[in-house]
């Protein structure tokens, strides 16, 4: 296989930034870009602007091709990186402006506006690109690298520009964290305190534009938006705090950038943009499944545990009611597995094929029975306000009542002259 690099050492060298100077610069630059995209993407995600960023990045194409055409027609070299970035930024912002225009001046909704801008601007870009290819023989051939990105064509100074923009954008975002947070969380409140929401939104948009145009060469304009969307979406599974979200998102973004650029430098025909997105996508999948805070697996385990807990409580409650000769007591309906589990805790005995509560089990059963009655009584005596809690079914609530809630319930009932002793209203 000629896809593989020559030897293992070379891999290590590249990963440890010991490869060629150019390679190092590109890897470092891409990593910094990834970090910045992760930071700024967090706010784009929380402001629900992910797809606006998509339209923006597609809308940069006419700017790139247009800047090239104008520059060459005026006799300059069209390949100057800052020039193309300027063109990209202009049409990118123009695209976002068009979304707003469509929303304000027609009945079309945001989804349609985004889709229109995305496809039409990109279409215009393709037209201009084909003009470039016919008009300037050869010199504009590299322009379509901006669509999918090509790290191999990057120079040290390109990488330096990218890295610097990444650092600057991240610093701006971190300094304005407080302002971004309040606008993302509660726009009307922010405005009521006199914060110029439009200015903060514009700064946020400006940062997204910076990231997009500086990532064009390495990642390409179609996939750059993934660097803005995926890291924060993945980070969200790991935390419930904004500053941690920003930090983790930056980490994921940086890691994706680093891995993508390195792999692309090591192996032929591995486009950096696609590899970066695939790395980020894998981290997203892992996060969604396995993150302890909001991951699907952790969530499922929590739900199963609660279900088990409820089933166990039902068994203990029923046995308690039977043994205490309480009216309406029913035999527990439980699987052998569940019974064994409870027996292991030492709450029931299963001698002679009959179930019996142990002393500890009796205390448990009594507690559950009492909670049940407490809640029922609360619902009855506070029928006027309890409707806000109707979604808590009686059978579920008793198992999730915390000690503080139980104390509150007791207090609420005491106020109305009801006390519960051993489960029965007195």
């Amino acid at each position: 296989m000629n896809d593989l690099p020559i030897n293992f050492e070379e891999i290590l060298e590249t990963l440890a930034l010991q490869g060629g100077f150019n390679t190092n610069a590109v890897i470092l630059g891409t990593t910094l870009l990834g970090i910045a995209a992760g930071v700024i993407g967090s706010f784009a995600l929380l402001r629900k602007r992910s797809l606006t960023a998509d339209a923006l990045s597609h809308a940069t194409l006419p700017g790139i091709a247009g800047a090239f055409l104008i520059a060459t027609s005026m006799g300059y070299s069209g390949r100057s990186m800052p020039l193309l970035m300027l063109g990209a930024a202009i049409t990118g912002i123009l695209g976002v402006a068009c979304i707003h225009l469509i929303l304000h001046h027609s009945r079309l909704k945001e989804d349609a506006a985004i889709g229109i801008v995305l496809s039409v601007f990109f279409g215009i870009g393709i037209v201009l690109l084909s003009l470039v290819q016919t008009s300037s023989s050869g010199s504009g051939a590299g322009l379509n690298h901006y669509i999918y990105g090509q790290t191999a064509a990057m120079t040290r100074s390109d990488a330096a520009i990218m890295g610097t923009i990444g650092i600057v954008a991240s610093i701006i975002a971190l300094v304005m964290l407080k302002e971004f947070m309040v606008v993302c969380f509660n726009e009307t409140f922010a405005r009521s305190t006199g914060l110029p929401v439009w200015l903060i939104d514009s700064i946020m948009l400006g940062l997204v534009v910076l990231i997009t145009v500086s990532g064009l060469q390495a990642v390409g304009l179609i996939l750059i938006v993934a660097m803005i969307i995926i890291p924060p979406a993945a980070a969200r599974f790991w935390t419930d705090r904004l500053w941690k979200l920003v930090l983790i998102s930056a980490l994921i973004g940086g890691l994706s950038g680093y891995a993508g650029a390195s792999i692309s430098a090591l192996f032929p025909r591995k486009p950096a943009g696609a590899v970066i997105v695939l790395v980020a996508g894998s981290i997203f999948a892992i996060s969604m499944l396995f993150a302890p805070t909001r991951g699907v697996l952790a969530d499922t385990i929590r739900r199963l545990r609660l279900k088990l807990l409820i089933a166990r409580d039902h068994v203990l409650e029923s046995l308690y009611e039977i043994e205490s000769d309480i009216e309406g007591a029913r035999h527990p309906n439980a699987s052998i597995m569940l019974i064994k589990l409870i027996a292991m805790r030492g709450w029931i005995t299963t001698s002679n094929n009959t179930l019996a509560l142990t002393e500890a089990g009796r205390i448990q059963g009594q507690r559950i029975h009492r909670n049940h009655k407490l809640w029922e009584q609360y619902l009855v005596s506070y029928a006027d306000i309890a409707p806000t809690h109707v979604d808590w079914s009686v059978d579920q609530v008793e198992h999730v009542l915390t000690d503080e809630l139980i104390a509150e319930l007791e207090e609420a009932l005491r106020v109305r002259g009801i006390t519960i002793e051993n489960g029965d209203p007195a």
Partner: protein
């Protein structure tokens, strides 16, 4: 054209001049305010001078424009006509003396912040741009959380709070604004008894400290118990004044007795004309 040569023709502007000016003592003085949502008028020609040091309820049926009234006062939605002054000043100048509690449903409670973070937002204006939240501001926020009985929940993520607790966090955030006039949009909607008590305690405390609180309220039963003044609203002010005088069956009948069809039709017509369709 000088005033002496003014012809004996009725001028469209003449009545506006004749109206009473804003009261400089009133914490909020609304003058000839008309507000439109998507260019459709929802509030018609509202005049109101709020008394100071009072708890004021805004009451009216759904779609009467209660929240709109608050938002228009705060400049959150543009006014089609009219002016609002606070202690005789414009909103811009009086802003630091005004606190706001938005509707609880207006935000995404899955947002990754803690209760304390939310309360700190009330201090942002005092902290200033681009500066981190200092310890003293955090202490002030903790104090506000304590006042609404939520000190133990400061580090909780907001989605893990009950609806009532979320409402109390919003209230605490307004308290840290250390304002003299508060606007609260449905703070009692869907809250538990403990929260309702906590809110009303805070409201009374505010009043005893000389503040004014204007509350959009939906529960008619509790109006006489909780509030001093009431503003009955249904697209226009039906009645306003002390609860004992204004909160009468007759006025309530006027407020809730069905929408004025002709006024609603007129609102539609104005919207169509403004949109040019």
């Amino acid at each position: 054209m000088s005033s002496t040569t003014r012809p004996a023709v009725y001028s469209p502007r003449s009545t506006l001049d004749a109206r009473p000016e804003h009261s400089a003592d009133s914490p909020v003085s609304i003058h000839a305010m008309t507000v439109a949502y998507a260019r459709k008028p929802v509030l018609w020609d509202v005049d109101y001078d709020a008394p100071s040091n009072a708890l004021i309820a805004i009451v009216g049926p759904n779609g009467a424009g209660k929240s709109t009234l608050i938002k228009a006062c705060l400049g959150l939605i543009p006014r089609a006509a009219g002016t609002v002054e606070f202690w005789g000043q414009s909103y811009k100048h009086a802003r630091s003396r005004i606190g706001y509690v938005p509707q609880r449903e207006s935000v995404d409670w899955d947002f990754p912040v803690s209760a304390l973070d939310v309360v700190c937002m009330g201090r942002y204006r005092k902290i200033g741009w681009c500066r981190p939240v200092s310890k003293s501001h955090k202490l002030a926020a903790m104090e506000a959380l304590d006042r609404v009985g939520m000190a133990d929940f400061a580090k909780r993520q907001i989605s893990q709070l009950s609806g009532g607790q979320q409402q109390r966090v919003f209230l605490a955030r307004a308290l840290t604004q250390e304002a003299e006039l508060y606007f609260m949009d449905e703070p009692f909607a869907g809250v538990d008894a403990a929260t309702e008590r906590a809110i009303i305690d805070v409201l009374r405390e505010l009043r005893s400290n000389g503040k004014t609180v204007i509350v959009v309220h939906h529960d008619l039963q509790t109006v006489p118990e909780y509030f001093d003044h009431v503003l009955l609203l249904n697209m226009r002010i039906v009645a306003s004044g002390p609860v004992s005088e204004v909160f009468t069956a007759d006025n309530l009948q006027k407020t809730y007795g069905g929408r004025l069809t002709l006024l609603a039709e007129a609102a539609e017509a104005v919207a169509r004309a403004a949109k040019g369709s």
